[in-house]
């Protein structure tokens, strides 16, 4: 139906859209999702041929190349076969026409209907979109934003277009009105192909069956909407989902580091990507087909950082860890939840190489880890359970945080010192000389834990294994530390294996939860799923036992 190939749009030197390839089947709805300024509107306008810049490539619609059509022919198609609902309703409507005339205009203009027919059709459409009868003769400035939006929708549908381009169709509607309009738009779905440009994931979710994620003028991921939202493969898509407030995900909101800049060499997302490598800086990735969708990423989407395959660790007859298979993707948090003695710490220590596995192996970026050298520990670090024990009583705060750098022989002593002080700042430890020279027994539990976290972060690891990092802390300090870890994830793309017995805390920080019992992983799924629809009885009992503060829920205001 609609086939866009190698579309390039530029205004002078600024390349707005870069090599866009898209296809929309007849009757299908494709959502174009992306942050503002990413080129969504330009894409819609290009199809309408309303862009003022230079347009190259082909846009095939119904077998015709729209870009090649003579202006007259294009004019005929525009508003009759292809219609667009513009983003900013206020600017689009002609202030001197009444609402009704506004809608009648395209029908009469194209000579499709007589004045009488057009009036009937317009009234029917406005009724369909729920505009009160007495507003029909109002002028646009007399309407509310939501009413204007409805008028625009009615106007676009006036000629029964085959292709409807909707640019932020729901943005000026409140939540309830949105629901109504979504239903209405779905009704017309059957006979009309739609392109929905939006920054709002919920709109995309509700309206589209497929979605394309646009970033910096490039398509970076295309696939069935449900798949893309539930299991985003491109780091940007995941970041978008994480930043989007909704009722399903339970993890705290996370932003995306940096700002969109353009133009950039290489992958347009690389300055903000947390798993960028050299090639991402130099070469633009092509959109390729993998695992049921198209994705443009040199690394094949979000990489699996670490995985354990059939890891077993026995102490004599006791199997502390029993054939555990887990994976951790770059930039995600996997929470390992289970009661004391379920083997969580043993698993962590086995991953770290502090225990030798009885069976199985650990894979880092799909390479089997045999001998862990400095390069492994440079990338994987652990925060141990008891900071009082894991900090040497002989080392001051500064010395303790410098120790990993000393071991790894990084830079000069001055560089190590300034790096250590910088990281201590990140974990909100006072950087005064007095404090840096303190010894662990001078510190409070929270301070010790921060020092331990700083020590684990000073090497800039990509994976942090945090073993009950907040077990000794009161709630307010715990909240700060969890926030800190999430922040580091946003800024550095830190992946985390977060080990805890507290499923309530895990729920707030993790993308996925693995439940461990007697050395086995009994259940592993997305956090929202584990929390709302646990499959195992044990998981249900963990959830029942978790802190809930029911009084808050049941209390009533007088």
């Amino acid at each position: 139906m609609l086939e866009i190939k190698d579309l390039r749009v530029s205004y002078g030197q600024d390349i707005i859209l870069n090599r866009i390839d898209l296809e929309v089947e007849a009757g299908g709805t494709l959502a174009i999702v992306g942050e503002s300024g990413t080129g969504k509107t330009t894409l819609g306008l290009s199809i309408m041929r309303l862009v003022e810049g230079t347009v190259q490539g082909t846009i095939r619609f119904d077998g015709k190349d729209l870009l090649e059509l003579p202006d007259r022919e294009m004019q005929r198609i525009r508003w009759s076969e292809i219609a667009m609902v513009f983003q900013n309703a206020n600017n689009v409507l002609n202030p001197v026409y009444t609402v009704l005339n506004q809608i009648m205009e395209p029908m009469i203009e194209h000579g499709l209907k007589s004045r009488e027919e057009a009036r009937d059709r317009a009234m029917e459409l406005l009724r369909y979109f729920g505009l009160p009868r007495e507003r029909l003769s109002a002028y646009p400035h007399q309407l509310s934003g939501g009413e204007q939006q409805r008028v625009l929708l009615a106007m676009a549908l006036a000629n029964n277009p085959k292709l409807l381009i909707l640019d932020e169709p729901l943005s000026s509607l409140d939540a309830v009105a949105r629901g109504e309009v979504v239903d209405l738009l779905k009704e017309i779905d059957r006979h009309c192909t739609k392109l929905v440009a939006t920054h709002d994931l919920d709109t995309a979710d509700k309206l589209s069956d497929r979605m394309a994620v646009l970033y910096g003028g490039k398509i970076i991921e295309v696939g069935p909407t449900q798949d893309v939202l539930s299991r985003p493969m491109h780091p940007y898509t995941r970041a978008l989902v994480r930043a989007y407030p909704n009722m399903t995900t339970v993890k705290d909101l996370q932003g995306i580091k940096g700002r969109m800049t353009r133009p950039v060499a290489g992958c347009s997302f690389h300055p903000r990507c947390t798993q960028a490598i050299d090639i991402c800086r130099t070469k633009t990735p092509r959109l390729v087909w993998t695992q049921g969708r198209h994705i443009a990423c040199h690394r094949g989407g979000i990489i699996t950082l670490l995985s354990t395959r059939n890891i077993t660790k026995s102490f004599g007859l006791l199997k502390a860890v029993d054939s555990v298979n887990l994976y951790i993707e770059a930039g995600e948090t996997l929470a390992l939840v289970g009661q004391t003695g379920s083997g969580k710490t043993t698993l962590a220590k086995t991953i770290m190489g502090l225990h030798r596995p009885t069976e199985g192996a650990v894979y880092f970026e799909d390479v089997k880890v045999d001998n862990r050298g400095k390069d492994f520990y440079n990338r994987v670090q652990m925060v141990f359970q008891n900071p009082g024990e894991s900090l040497s009583h002989r080392l001051s705060v500064l010395e303790a945080v410098m120790e990993p750098l000393d071991v790894q022989e990084v830079g000069t002593k001055e560089e190590r010192e300034s790096k250590a002080i910088q990281v201590l700042g990140e974990v909100e430890i006072p950087q005064t000389k007095d404090f840096l020279n303190k010894y662990p027994h001078h510190l409070s539990g929270g301070e010790m834990q921060r020092v331990a976290i700083a020590r684990a972060l000073v090497l800039d690891p990509v994976l942090l294994i945090a073993d009950e990092p907040t077990a000794f802390l009161d709630a307010s300090v715990q909240a700060k530390i969890l926030k800190l870890l999430l922040n580091l994830q946003e800024q550095r793309g830190l992946s985390m294996l977060y080990i805890t017995h507290d499923i309530a805390a895990a729920r707030k920080v993790s993308d996925r939860i693995a439940v461990m019992l007697n050395g086995k992983i009994i259940e592993e799924s997305a956090t929202s799923e584990i929390v709302t629809a646990p499959k195992q009885a044990y998981t249900r009992s963990l959830l029942r036992a978790a802190s809930a503060l029911h009084s808050i829920e049941s209390s009533e205001w007088p």
């Binding site: 220590k349 770290m352 190489g353 502090l354 862990r372 050298g373 400095k374 492994f376 520990y377 440079n378 670090q381 652990m382 141990f384 008891n386 009082g388 024990e389 894991s390 900090l391 040497s392 009583h393 002989r394 080392l395 120790e403 990993p404 071991v407 790894q408 331990a452 020590r455 090497l459």
Partner: protein, 281 residues
């Protein structure tokens, strides 16, 4: 956790006494050239003289000043003592800690060697070896050290085995630290007090052994030593020279050993805290 060795020694009466004796002996050894009125090696025809104002402890059989010899004897004694103390503690630490950290076959081999040496009566071996090679002071130090580090190694290993399970050691390993780094930065500092006790006992043993070997006449005869002085004095036992030749030497040697024993005993609770409060019977 923090064991204050200084406090441990100072709070015990005998400990204090021992420390005073040892410091005195060290002072004597260091200041011997100033304190000694004569060259202890200078022979003269005035042999076997009784004490006088010129020669406080008289003269020996080849006309050397006994008081000067006694002062210089402290040098030999303590040089060998501390030399062996340092070296054997070092060896004991290296082998004990490395065995604990490396483990496996290496540990087994090292610890069986240690066991073997502990079973074999050391004195006999030293006498046999020393009799053949007639050791100089340096060789003697090496020989005694090689034969006496094993006891220390055992203690160090046991301690290191427990220390290496500490959280901060696991943390250091998770930064990619090697065995050497862990031993040096995390294990040895915590062995401190034990190292000192081991050291003191090694010194005591070495002082005793040196005197004994010299007494048997199998050390370097050109170096003044308390053991050798006692042997020379004993061969004139039919005269009354023992009063100013044999007794002062014996007392000096005994004092040194008693001093070291007192310090060692006072510091022992460091190894075995249950001994705290047990007085010397």
């Amino acid at each position: 956790m923090h064991i204050d060795l200084k406090k441990e020694i100072k709070e015990s009466g005998p400990g204090k006494t021992g420390l005073i004796i040892l410091l005195l002996m060290i002072a004597v050894a260091l200041l011997a050239p100033i304190l000694a009125p004569y060259d202890p090696y200078q022979q003269s025809i005035a042999s076997l003289l009784p004490p006088s104002w010129q020669h406080w402890l008289g003269m020996n059989h080849v006309g050397q000043d006994i008081w000067s010899q006694l002062l210089y004897g402290a040098r030999t004694s303590l040089l060998v003592g501390f030399g062996v103390g340092i070296l054997s503690t070092l060896l004991g630490t290296i082998f004990g800690v490395s065995a604990a950290l490396i483990g496996g076959l290496y540990e087994k081999v090292v610890m069986r060697i240690v066991d073997a040496f502990i079973v074999i009566p050391m004195v006999i071996i030293i006498i046999l070896v020393a009799a053949y090679i007639r050791p100089s002071i340096l060789t003697l130090i090496l020989l005694l050290s090689l034969l006496s580090w094993q006891g220390g190694a055992r203690i160090m290993r046991a301690q290191a085995l427990s220390l290496k399970e500490r959280g901060h050691v696991a943390a250091a390993r998770s930064f990619g630290a090697n065995h050497f780094y862990i031993a040096w930065r995390h294990i040895v500092p915590d062995l401190g007090p034990i190292l000192l006790v081991d050291f003191i006992y090694s010194v005591r043993r070495a002082v005793f052994m040196e005197a004994g070997l010299a007494f048997l006449g199998i050390t370097d005869p050109t170096v003044v030593s308390w053991g050798m002085m006692m042997r020379d004095a004993l061969s004139f036992s039919y005269l009354n020279v023992w009063q100013w030749w044999l007794v002062p030497t014996g007392v000096a040697l005994s004092l040194t050993i008693v001093g070291l024993t007192f310090i060692g005993h006072a510091a022992e609770p460091v190894i075995e805290p249950r001994l705290r409060g047990v007085e010397i019977a």
